[in-house]
Symmetry: D4
Subunit: 235 residues, 8 copies
């Protein structure tokens, strides 16, 4: 099997890094850390760095960070969000930043909420965190409605029965993305109940991402930013 050179991807035995994604999809490839060895993560990070792109690693830990630190000087590890971020010195954010709210129903939902918030900040947006506003104490959420109504988009993170996005969806006009979490026990079914609940919400126009997928919600909002950009003329 001889080599297939390509200007737009770097091939290693285990990964075809998609260096064109920045242009094609509007943001660079992100490294999903779970299930990859530290060495694989380092290798992919260096390919991204070499092509002048920023590095974002999700679902990672301090061990990986220790390995990467010297190769990615200035990188940061956030243990709550379980993410490593690194930017090249000359980074220019092309899109206008958004004003986002990341809401979380309970304290146990914070790791997922922080993943969403940190990824959004990585892409240059401003994030207001509104935490512990589960509907069992509705007044806590209602106090924050003015902030919610200032947002360009809202990420609503909730486990258990996953009610939060429904209630928020009825209070604001902007996009609301529900992130179910696996927080809960028994009938929560590792987050499936929250997921199904958000999908059947009576508040119209909510959309949902996978369980615990804070990154996915942030990425979905990043796509919204794209639509005011000049269109890509070629296939």
């Amino acid at each position: 099997m001889k080599s297939r050179p390509s200007p737009s991807s770097k091939s290693s035995p285990f990964a075809e890094v998609d260096l064109e994604r920045l242009e094609r999809c509007g943001n660079s490839e992100v490294i999903f850390g779970a299930g990859k060895t530290p060495e694989q993560i380092l290798s992919i990070s260096l390919q991204l760095k070499a092509s002048g792109q920023s590095v974002l690693i999700t679902r990672t830990d301090a061990t990986v960070f220790q390995l990467l630190q010297s190769s990615l000087p200035g990188s940061r590890f956030d243990p709550s969000a379980r993410c490593i971020t690194w930017h090249p010195k000359k980074l220019k954010i092309k899109n206008k930043p958004l004003q986002l709210c990341v809401c979380a129903a309970g304290t146990s939902d914070l790791p997922v909420a922080e993943e969403a918030a940190l990824c959004s900040e990585f892409w240059g947006n401003k994030v207001t965190r509104i935490y512990d506003v589960g509907v069992a104490g509705l007044h806590r959420l209602l106090r924050r409605v003015p902030e919610l109504r200032q947002a360009d988009a809202i990420i609503a993170v909730a486990g258990m029965e996953g009610t939060l996005p429904s209630v928020i969806g009825g209070l604001v006009a902007c996009p609301v993305i529900g992130v179910p979490t696996s927080v809960g026990y028994g009938a929560n079914l590792q987050g499936v109940t929250a997921l199904l609940g958000m999908l059947t919400s009576c508040a119209s126009g909510l959309t949902v991402v996978n369980i615990d997928n804070g990154f996915g919600a942030a990425a979905a909002i990043e796509r919204m930013k794209k639509r005011t950009q000049p269109k890509h003329p070629r296939s």
Copy 2:
């Protein structure tokens, strides 16, 4: 197989009517109409009537009502709640009636809510109906909080993601019983999603009955009335 006479039950080939239930459990046996022939329902009704008890038939229809009307003069059929009710002339309600609220999230939940309301009224309680107060328009529910706070107990009926009991549970101190309905489609899974959502609610102290089981919620509240009665001394 020879006859086993019993002072407290009437035996037919297909049913052992539990005539003692009024004393043992505090209210008489109720006839679940689904899956029974009109003739079976009539036969059981007559046994209840003969022992001086009231008759409540759930999940029934106009055909059954036509058959029963002459035997149970003064009986009523409620097509929305799908119930037939009949009381003997000399009925004395021993327990003090309760003030209840039956809430429903949407218009499609009404048959289940009406079953709960009608059964509660059958047992002598006062019922305030608060309908179409789903959380997508939270202001509709919040307007009704004073009424909710006057109630002795609340039945909260909701399909789709089943959020209503969670929100009500955070607003009042009295018992709240959630009734999931099979209203919805797709990820609603015929009410399973609403059921699981209510069970994992972040509002503490909610309890839940089976999907579409308006009768069950009313019966659960009827049990609460019992606890202020003199205790049964014998096994």
Copy 3:
């Protein structure tokens, strides 16, 4: 239970029409026809009309349309999308319309796709329909990439294994909303397989709505339009 007058909602025995929703959430209340009687639908429609709002009824049929026609002159019924639409004469769309693509994997997915397309058009957007582009014949989709890249947002409708949004998501930068359909049999599990597949897509930033919920996808995109509007200053 005495009357609770409210300037912003009309109360009927079965429904609290949310007339404020236009201002609060950016578009008026939509009538979900399934599970409502024609008379209930007519009553709600007249309340919306009386308050100067447009009327959109989903999951409805020709019988309802016949009842409504005289009361809503100029209304239209689309049997494929199963929707009735009516606009008041002096309608002004405040938001700038979007250029959308609605894609469908197979012929059987058309009712859901048409619901999405028609709702989007009801709210003033321009819709390009790209149908029968399932991934079993990938060239059919690849031919349409230029059109896809011109869109502000894309609704991707697919049953069976629900692959279409994943593939589209890797080809464009704009928001992509997946709508799983209940088309298929056996292991499709009435659309659950397509739903779960879209949620676990390897293409980042996809979001998903409930099975067969074409309306929901259109409503989600409508929320995106809102974020460039002046913010609501009050709670």
Copy 4:
């Protein structure tokens, strides 16, 4: 994000403690220990203490207890129920205590049963424990019927097929709350079978809480106590 002062809640970066809950819902906020760090638990406990409220922590362990002991002098840790309790010196229970029975089908169900019993005692009730009375040896339960009939309410805890609440429900007139447990294997499906079984019970008027949720059952009964209290006049 500047501070939003509120007389009724204390805001920390991770939690909005709901100090008003005592008045609004009749009992103070309870700390669900699972998924919170010892430091978070300590912080919330101190806020409750500072506002003159009792402290109840569920799903916790000896490590947390060691951290809290000095700050909450006189607190107790029950390893079987996995709960920590603390009361201020001048505690006045406003409601009349109830006489409860907590029943458990098997030895393995004890942790859940003890959580229910201990929480009920924390709120001032008297609890009779009736354990190892599974229906495989029905005589063990039947011997206890007189005690069951003296109770104001009964919590019935059972794993495996979850039969116990059904049988008890047919023997008594008071409220019976079923708590399914995750005890069992194979077809028990981590408690889902017991949960579904209780929900479809042929004994009318049972209600059910989440799997292993002993606390929830106790809280549900606490709500019953409320209904004889003076009503809250304000929203």
Copy 5:
């Protein structure tokens, strides 16, 4: 494809009737009527008759009976059990008959219970029917314990939560076979809940057959009769 003659089976285009089964498995092949055309059922019946065997058809109806009556003179159709039975004139039952009890929890379980009872009688056993003895009124079952203890084996039929076999299993020493039924709604999941409940029963030594499979329970007991027969010496 040429013919494959066999002394022990009759081949038709759609069925290989297993005429040897009487000797190999102790009872003749039974015709499961569901999903077969009346003509197919007639054809198989005639093959069984021609080989001197009895005919038992389950899950059938009056239409099939009308077609068969002239070919199987003296056959009977039981509409409750949905079975047709026919015996040759010279039938000798080789095994000693058993004394069985067929118990049913509720009136709606009767079709399944009757299928079990009728099949058992078809094979020459004596059956005591004990119906409507669900555990919500435990006294109804307890009255029948003497009869239960006289039985050689018991078939316990129950829908909803399927408790009946558990309770009976704790009261008797003989074999108890649970038959879950699809009677119920919502969380019953078409009988799956009753099935799972019986499988996780706390009463030891219960065995279970498929949902609504009254025939299967009868056939299982028929196998028990076999073990006192002379053994088959050849393969």
Copy 6:
């Protein structure tokens, strides 16, 4: 809560040992070791011993055995079956022993098969073990048919798709009890697939017990032995 003396059970704080079971159900109570502390197991064992009964502990391990050895001299621990057995010196088996076959499809099914075999031997039966006869090499099973046809009853243990009982059921006339095991991966769903497969077997008269429940199958056969005993005359 004062003591409730009973001639037929010993009450400890955590367990009501059912000493009457030997007479009522034909064999003594068996200790399910999983989820019990060694001390609890010892305590129950001593109660059984004190009443002159044999001791059988399932799902246990060497640690428990070490604790019990001195109190139950002569007891044995079988690590494969994970059972401890002990008999009093003067044991008289009242029932005539049966000749059983325990079959297992694969090597990984042995722990479950051995639990079934050892329990059957504990109750005095003779057991022929027929292992590794999965249907992928059908000749292995067919060679053993003569032995299978000599058995009074057969326990067929299988994981993966659980085919073995179906095939055996078509080859013999005696009772066949299927025991699904959790052996397998992926679509096996921890034994649920094998369980459902056995329940829908095309071989009539099979019965099934819970996943991995070798004890349950042995107990079910023990019940068959009972039916030739004198009947219990009292309730």
Copy 7:
């Protein structure tokens, strides 16, 4: 949306017929009839005919056949397989035909088996039908082993527990494709049990297609025929 001409596909408002598929994938596009209107089916059929290709319509009925007959002279409708077939006069089968066996466990599986057989014959193969050979009467299958061993590939169709492919897979060396059917009830779960059982088969090298997908199995075997063809040199 203006026209996008393409030499290799015909575009209609509802379908992009994939006329290139014959060359790319080795056989022409097949029309899945379910969910399409007769008019849509006719339109697609005419496009295939116009391009010189054969027509195969699955999941169809006599109504469609009546509409098509005049346009496709010589076409045939098989009501058992629910398929319509038509070949152009000058059809040359390029690939060497295979000798296949289609096996079915029971009479109720025939529609699915016939769909597989008829599709295979449509593509020019020879098919031996081996029906009603379920494992409950193993001798019926064992008699046919010589035929099975002559086959190039085997399609094994079975509902209920789906054992047939496992047993066949252990008897032959050629490819075996399992087709689970939705035949059965209760724990069969509309074919899901048979599907899962085949996937976890202990016979190695089986592959599986969707429930009731006889066409899919035939298509899978058609792919095998391709591998001896000259390779396609272009992308």
Copy 8:
């Protein structure tokens, strides 16, 4: 139980090694390592070696390899594929080798893909590995189409939503076998979503094996090789 000598199998207490399988099914028995002790694996390996057959152990680890190395000189352990392989010195591959492609969607799918590749190579085939070609970056896969079209058969390994086989199936004419993996989280449901997705694929003629079953896919292709061999004349 006396010995049953057989020329074609070696019996040990725990396993009946199927030495005839090489002739009957075309390849020797493979040892599934999971759930077997190292000693059991060694014993079976020696029996295979003694009969002149190759040894392939899947789902194994370095510990087993250390035990076997001296007994199987020249054996190899591949930690990525988790397989041990050994061939006798005089090995003659009778079948003509195939040219295969093993494709994997993501880096985390490699263990399963490597198991498939290594097993295929063990049986003498040539394997091209095409990894990290998930559909989120479709260009990576499209670049490899020429290689895919040269293959005799393709194994497509994918987790998450399992799209890869669908897309490949639409691009090539040869057999495509989908292997779902348990890679993913949340709605992936441990690979069930990928499994169901592949089964409902819109690309016709795909077949599927169990989750993570790389070996099974390789074995299925091995069966295809058989069909050009001389037929086995005897049963």
